[in-house]
């Protein structure tokens, strides 16, 4: 098994953290992982992305130009990464703020209205966990249990009281995702 993912959106949406939890989930099931962020001034509000690779074998290049899955959270990222999804791959996006929707027919396009769902939950910070839930539903490469374990590893001890909220958000995402 090898899954190459790009997660892209605005800084502040929790893109890097989502990637980190996925990577930790991979470690929990004894996989090789890499997490390669874009870094720099864009962390402070501009576009931001992270590529995550989960694999049963040694990972060579952490730099990719084609992905099995793209998780897209803003228009700039959609414009940039839609064409980089491998044929037969998956594109998951949040329609919030999107004016030009995905057009490719040779990939599986899924929609998660995570901004709306987070508002329903009354917790804007749950946003990235809702998106993560959507991904896990469409591509169960990491089990729910291992993601929760990864989350526990990623969160500092003082934030462990947020575990329940995050688990809930992941479940919401799993239910709310629409496959188009």
């Amino acid at each position: 098994m090898k899954e190459e993912i790009i997660i892209a959106g605005f800084g502040g949406q929790g893109v890097l953290f989502m990637g980190r939890i996925l990577a930790y989930g991979g470690i929990m099931q004894d996989q090789e992982v890499t997490w390669m962020p874009s870094y720099g001034p864009e962390m402070r509000g501009g576009t931001c992305n992270v590529s995550v690779i989960l694999s049963d074998n040694k990972i060579s290049s952490p730099i990719l130009s084609r992905f099995d899955t793209a998780i897209i959270l803003n228009q700039q990222s959609l414009d940039k990464f839609e064409k980089q999804v491998k044929p037969g791959g998956v594109l998951i996006y949040d329609p919030n703020g999107i004016t030009r929707h995905p057009e490719r027919k040779d990939i599986k396009v899924c929609r998660i209205a995570a901004v709306d769902e987070a508002a329903k939950l009354g917790n804007a910070k749950a946003y990235n966990m809702i998106v993560l839930g959507a991904y896990l539903k469409v591509k169960p490469v990491v089990t729910f249990e291992n993601v929760i374990k990864g989350l526990r590893k990623s969160l500092p001890e003082r934030h462990h009281h947020l575990m329940e909220m995050n688990e809930k958000a992941i479940s919401v995402g799993m239910e709310a995702v629409e496959i188009l």
């Binding site: 470690i27 870094y39 720099g40 001034p41 730099i63």
Partner: protein, 360 residues
């Protein structure tokens, strides 16, 4: 099995330093390596191992703090990125001239000047051919994985003390910023005062012991004869390092008739290029120099006769390729592919460039 932790390359440097008994870190913030000092400050090793961590007023000061600590026989280090390393080159020259052990980590970014904070390998010349003034060498290790970043810290101190010479870990923004899982190694305690006396009393400034005159650590020798003797001594030491410490890795070179030479993050990216080539029936392999100084000359030299072509792939305008050409010395055509200014090529892009060179 030891626990495996997900961490960034920069964080790995910090955890490895604490773990391998480093005595002191002196640094100055610069992207993309600031996590090294941030992690150390968060971990507060002065409360556990007694390691000193200090934010200096400049890179000039950091390297001179390293110089002072190294004079005391301590395991001391600094880290920075390209523009900061330029400022440290004076200090590096003194450290090399005085034959002092230390570790300098360069998480390279694009230049020249203030350049970019994106990854680069454009300090190859600076790291391997000098940087500072005078005839000196630093041992240079090029990590390709986060595990390498972790493991090379201890290895660097081993080499630094074995040869009493500065060692540089020459990483880049990719290995610095990337997270991978890291297997932690058994902890080494810091050296005790007694161990330090046994190991370094003959040269270090530990305070004059009764049995010897005061130690003087200096790189100054106004007399040309004395200076030349020192230069020859240094060159002999470098020759020993060249004979014993060249390290490298190969990937699918056994049956290869084309070779890519690449270091650091580029060597991993080029392993994917090998897969693309082999799908097309082209027998391509990769030589990854782990030490950039000493360069794995013999390993490359032995591979040259079987190759129809060699390509050096670097994140710069073509620096290591000069060494590759020198060693190939006309026995195989040597090509170059590189991206500059912080751009990192994908395996597909490199493969396309490679195919063009062999079709010519």
């Amino acid at each position: 099995m030891a626990e495996k932790i997900l961490m960034k390359g920069n964080e790995a440097i910090a955890y490895a330093a604490i773990n391998c008994g480093c005595d002191g870190y002196f640094g100055y913030p610069i992207t993309p390596q600031s996590e090294v000092m941030e992690t150390l400050m968060l971990e507060k090793p002065w409360e556990t191992t007694g390691m000193v961590v200090l934010q200096a007023e400049s890179e000039v000061s950091s390297i001179n703090m390293v110089y002072g600590g190294a004079c005391c026989g301590k395991k001391v280090m600094t880290s920075s990125s390209s523009p900061g390393i330029s400022l440290m080159c004076e200090g590096l020259s003194y450290l090399a001239g005085c034959e002092l052990p230390c570790l300098v980590v360069n998480v390279m970014r694009g230049g020249p000047g203030l350049g970019t904070i994106q990854p680069s390998q454009s300090d190859y010349f600076q790291a391997t051919k000098g940087g500072g003034h005078g005839d000196y060498r630093t041992i240079v290790l090029a990590p390709a994985t986060v595990q390498d970043m972790y493991d090379y810290v201890d290895l660097s101190f081993e080499l630094a003390f074995k040869y009493r010479n500065p060692v540089m870990i020459l990483g880049d923004g990719v290995v610095g910023q990337m997270m991978e899982k890291v297997e932690l190694r058994p902890a080494k305690p810091r050296r005790t005062d007694k161990e330090l006396r046994e190991l370094c009393d003959s040269w270090a400034t530990l305070g004059k012991s009764a049995s010897r005159p005061g130690n003087i650590i200096t790189s100054l020798a106004l007399d040309a004869d004395i200076m030349e003797r020192h230069n020859i001594h240094l060159q002999n030491k470098y020759a020993t390092i060249e004979a014993n410490e060249a390290r490298y890795e190969t990937y699918m070179t056994k049956d290869a008739d084309h070779l890519i030479v690449a270091f650091g993050c580029m060597s991993r990216i080029c392993e994917n290029v090998v897969e693309l080539a082999r799908q097309d029936g082209i027998k391509l392999g990769v030589l990854r120099p782990i030490t950039l100084y000493p360069y794995p000359e013999k390993a490359l030299d032995a591979l040259v006769p079987q190759m129809k072509s060699i390509m050096s792939v670097e994140l710069n305008s073509g620096q290591m390729v000069e060494d590759v050409r020198r060693i190939a010395s006309g026995r195989a055509p040597v090509h170059f592919y590189g991206r500059q200014g912080g751009a990192v090529p994908s395996p597909e892009e490199i493969y396309e460039a490679f195919v063009k060179t062999i079709k010519k």
